[in-house]
Structure formats: structure tokens, C-alpha cells
């Protein structure tokens, strides 16, 4: 029997009367690594915001079988650039998902250090966030996300503006979190080639969910050659 973490049924969402998502239905088991691809404006980011509860659906339902969710939004690194906070201060925010007014205990500081160690940034914990490179900043957000021991990690185009070497390292880190820590991962990307190696499930979204299944089936049944070619060329 499979152990579901997420069920989405008949989901609709619109901006200004125009449907962005239509009749989305799928479910996800615990421990999966779901990669969602699709062209710009296909509703990928919107779907993530609905799953994480940031937006409310117009119609349909989303059932989450966990409340331990961490979300890393798109373009978070551009927002971090001038923010006067240290790496450690940002990671400590992740502890708040255990309770808004939770005081940070000695034990929590150990968790923060462990999370920073896991992403390889422990020695930079007192640096101002903006002093780090884009790839390092992205790993700070991973540390912030995993410090509360989440069951579901949701990431929106996390490697935009990061060089290819660091992108590969980043996806390896996600693969490690998925396999070794059992965290279910949902990631949106337009870069099909980088995520294909790590994901266990692949989805193609363009307003509707055109495909969801194993990556090998995805490549076998190239259902929309024009879009795919378009995607690969980006």
C-alpha cells in the first residue's frame, strides 16, 4: 500500500478571470522526487503556491498529509542580496515552523549547525547573506528549509542564475536529502536535463497536467515534440 503525502483533485485557479490551472489531478507518495517542467506562464509557480497554502484554489481540493512543509520561492537570492542578516540568522528562521513563538534553544542551535554542515556552509555561518555567491545562498535556503526536519520540500526554479557546476552540486544535494533523509521533494524547473537525473517522477504542466509518470516514460512518449524541443533549447 502506498503512503500518500499529497493528493490534488480537480484543481482550478485563475488570475483576473483567466484560468492559469485547469483540472489538475494527481497524487504523490512519500519519498518521491517530483520534477515539474513546462513553458513560462504554464502555471508551475502557481501550482506550488497552491500546494504550500500560499494561494487558495478557486475549485478542487488539495490534501496534504503532513504539516511539515518547507518552501523556497523563486528569485529568493535576488531578494537576499541587501538583506542585513547572517547566514545563521536566516537558517534559524526555519525553526519557527515548529511554533511561531518558539525560543531558539541550545538544541535548536545544534540543529542549525547540523543543517549548515549538511549543505557545507558551517564555516560561513557568521557571514552576511549578501556576501555569498548565488549557489551558496541557495544552499543557505536549503539549510533553512531542512532545519525543521520537513517531510515535504518545495522549490521553485532554485538554480536560476547559478552556474552549471553549482547547479549540478545543488541537485546532487537535493537527491541526497531525498534518498538519505527521506524528504519528499517537489521542484519546478525549466531545465529538463539537470533534473532528469535525480527525479523519480516527472510532470509536464501547461495549464493542464499533460503528463505525470516515470522519467523514462516521459522521454519515451515525447508527446509534445515542439514544446519539448523548445524547452531543451532554453
Amino acid at each position: 500500500m502506498s503512503d500518500k503525502i499529497l493528493e490534488v483533485r480537480g484543481l482550478y485557479f485563475s488570475y483576473d478571470g483567466e484560468n492559469v490551472l485547469e483540472d489538475i489531478t494527481f497524487s504523490l507518495d512519500r519519498g518521491e522526487f517530483l520534477g515539474i517542467i513546462g513553458p513560462n506562464g504554464s502555471g508551475k509557480s502557481t501550482l506550488l503556491k497552491l500546494i504550500t497554502g500560499i494561494l487558495k484554489p478557486d475549485r478542487g481540493e488539495i490534501k496534504l498529509y503532513t504539516d511539515r512543509i518547507s518552501y523556497i520561492p523563486q528569485k529568493i537570492t535576488s531578494l537576499s542580496y541587501n538583506f542585513p542578516a547572517t547566514v545563521e540568522e536566516i537558517v534559524s528562521l526555519g525553526i519557527l515552523s515548529k511554533g511561531m513563538l518558539k525560543r531558539i534553544s541550545r538544541k535548536d542551535y545544534n540543529l542549525i549547525e547540523q543543517a549548515l554542515d549538511k549543505v557545507g556552509l558551517l564555516e560561513l555561518k557568521n557571514k552576511r547573506l549578501g556576501e555569498l555567491s548565488g549557489g551558496q545562498q541557495q544552499r543557505v535556503h536549503i539549510a533553512r528549509a531542512i532545519v525543521s526536519n520537513p517531510e515535504l520540500l518545495v522549490l521553485d526554479e532554485p538554480t536560476t542564475g547559478i552556474d552549471i557546476v553549482n547547479q549540478t552540486r545543488f541537485y546532487e544535494l537535493l537527491g541526497h536529502l531525498n534518498r538519505e533523509m527521506g524528504i519528499t521533494v517537489i521542484i519546478v524547473s525549466h531545465d529538463i536535463s539537470t533534473i532528469a537525473g535525480e527525479v523519480t517522477t516527472m510532470a509536464y504542466l501547461d495549464k493542464k497536467l499533460h503528463f505525470i509518470g516515470k522519467p523514462k516514460d516521459f522521454f519515451k512518449k515525447i508527446l509534445w515534440p515542439i514544446e519539448l524541443e523548445d524547452l531543451l533549447n532554453r
Binding site: S70, P84, T86, E89, L93, L96, S97, K125, N126
Partner: protein
């Protein structure tokens, strides 16, 4: 310095000034980092309508400032979220609305004995014991609330979406921030007036951001800057016989200019590990 303190009005001015010097940056740091530096200005100007209304209706202007700046802040917050407009557009509209309401009411109530200057430019030297107490009674709970909600406030300031996904009640925390800002504005208008209130909320924070590497240091250095500005400004205003509000803000601007001059450049200071 000592001969200044022989006058009770100077002692009250100094005490309320220092209090404001602490309170303003504590709230301001969240507003500035949320790109809402102008919201305090908008709320303060909007409360001008409340002051005029209060005087005509015989209600204490302090309560009206509090009411109107809470109302103004919530309106700005609501309209930004519900429309396609940028924050500064919404603030500009609300700011002018409040001023227009105030001017209209005053012109209708010609003949009322209304010292408009005290509200526009502040009346720090007119603060008595009773007013000092009301400043402290309003301000202390605000400071305690910031201490309690320090991390949630930091989280929604850094990124609302991430905070919301981890289960934080982002809308409620935003409303709390608006109310805390309104309280701060109601208190600060007495010291610096409507026109310069946002200066005390924004400028020390700008200095703090410039010279610090961590959020804690930003908060601390903003507060220190705020206190120094108030004390120095007050002393200068006493000896040069100039308006204290203006002197205080000019000192804070001077400290800000020093901070961007590179003299206190601490790059690497906090980060030496």
C-alpha cells in the same frame, strides 16, 4: 549638559526623546527592510485628518492620531494586496487624502484655536509629566511585543511566502506590525511632528543597515544612532535656540552621511571567522 537638566521641561523632553529614539528604529527596521519606508510617512500624514477632526469634535488628538494611523496603515496594507498598484502609489494617495481631509476640516472650523504648528513640527519641549507617562504607557507594550514577535517579524520581513508555507499567520503578523507602527507614529508626532516622524523611523535604520552585517547588529546600531541623534539634537537645539525636531533629524542625517562615507566601513568586521 548639566545646566540643561535643571529645567523640568528639558528633562521630560530628553526622556521622551530617548524613548522615541529607541522605539522608532525597532519598528522602523522591519518597515525599511519590507520596502515600506514611506508607509510611516503616509500614516503620519493621514493622521493629520484625524487631528483636525479630533479638535473639532473635542476628542484628544493623541487618540485620533492613533486611530487614524492604524486605519491608514491597514488601508494601505489592504489596498496594496487587493489592487495592481505599487506600494508607493497607494501611500501617495492615502497621504494626500489625509492632508486634504485635515485642511478641509480646518478651513470649515475657522476661528477654532488650533495650534497647527505643534502637530506639523512637533512640540517636544511642551511635553509634561502626564504626556511622558502616556508615551511610556503606549510605548512599553509596543517594545515588549516586538521582543516577543521578533523572529516571526523577521521572517515575514525576509520572505512572506516562505513564512506562510511554514505555517506562520502572515496576515496577522502584518496587522500587528501596522498597529505597532501606528503606536510609534502617535508617540513620535509629539516629538518630531507629522513632517519629520518618518525621518526618525527610517534614517537611524538606514545607518544601521549600512554599518552592520547581521540583523541583531542592525537593530542595535539603529537604536544607538536613534538615541545619539535625540540627545545631541536636543543639546544643540538648546544652545542654538532652534527647533529640537529639526536639530534631531539633522543630527541623524549627519550620522547617516558619516556611515556612507566609508569611515566606519566594517566590511569584514563581523565576518572575521
Amino acid at each position: 549638559m548639566m545646566d540643561i537638566l535643571q529645567y523640568s521641561f528639558m528633562r521630560y523632553a530628553l526622556m521622551s526623546g530617548i524613548f522615541v529614539g529607541i522605539l522608532c528604529p525597532i519598528i522602523g527596521v522591519f518597515l525599511v527592510l519590507k520596502n515600506l519606508s514611506l508607509i510611516a510617512d503616509g500614516m503620519a500624514h493621514f493622521s493629520f485628518g484625524g487631528i483636525a477632526l479630533g479638535i473639532v469634535l473635542g476628542i484628544s488628538p493623541t487618540y485620533m492620531i492613533l486611530l487614524f494611523s492604524i486605519l491608514g496603515g491597514l488601508l494601505i496594507n489592504y489596498v496594496i494586496r487587493r489592487t495592481k498598484l505599487y506600494g508607493d502609489t497607494v501611500i501617495a494617495i492615502l497621504l494626500s487624502t489625509g492632508l486634504a481631509i485635515g485642511i478641509t476640516i480646518i478651513s470649515l472650523a475657522r476661528g477654532t484655536n488650533f495650534n497647527i504648528n505643534a502637530y506639523l513640527f512637533g512640540s517636544l519641549l511642551a511635553i509634561d509629566e502626564k504626556e511622558l507617562m502616556s508615551i511610556i504607557l503606549l510605548g512599553i507594550p509596543a517594545i515588549i511585543l516586538v521582543i516577543i514577535f521578533y523572529r516571526p517579524l523577521l521572517y515575514i520581513t525576509f520572505d512572506e511566502d516562505s513564512a506562510k508555507a511554514s505555517g506562520l499567520p502572515v496576515e496577522s503578523i502584518n496587522i500587528l506590525l501596522v498597529i505597532l507602527s501606528a503606536v510609534t507614529i502617535a508617540i513620535t508626532i509629539k516629538v518630531a511632528g507629522i513632517l519629520l516622524t518618518s525621518a526618525l523611523i527610517v534614517i537611524p535604520v538606514a545607518t544601521g543597515i549600512q554599518i552592520s552585517n547581521s540583523f541583531k547588529m542592525t537593530l542595535l546600531s539603529s537604536v544607538v544612532t536613534g538615541i545619539i541623534s535625540v540627545i545631541l539634537g536636543l543639546i544643540i537645539s538648546y544652545y542654538l535656540n532652534i527647533a529640537p525636531g529639526g536639530a534631531i533629524v539633522l543630527v541623524s542625517v549627519l550620522i547617516f552621511l558619516l556611515s556612507i562615507s566609508g569611515l566606519f566601513d566594517q566590511k569584514g568586521y563581523y565576518s572575521k571567522t
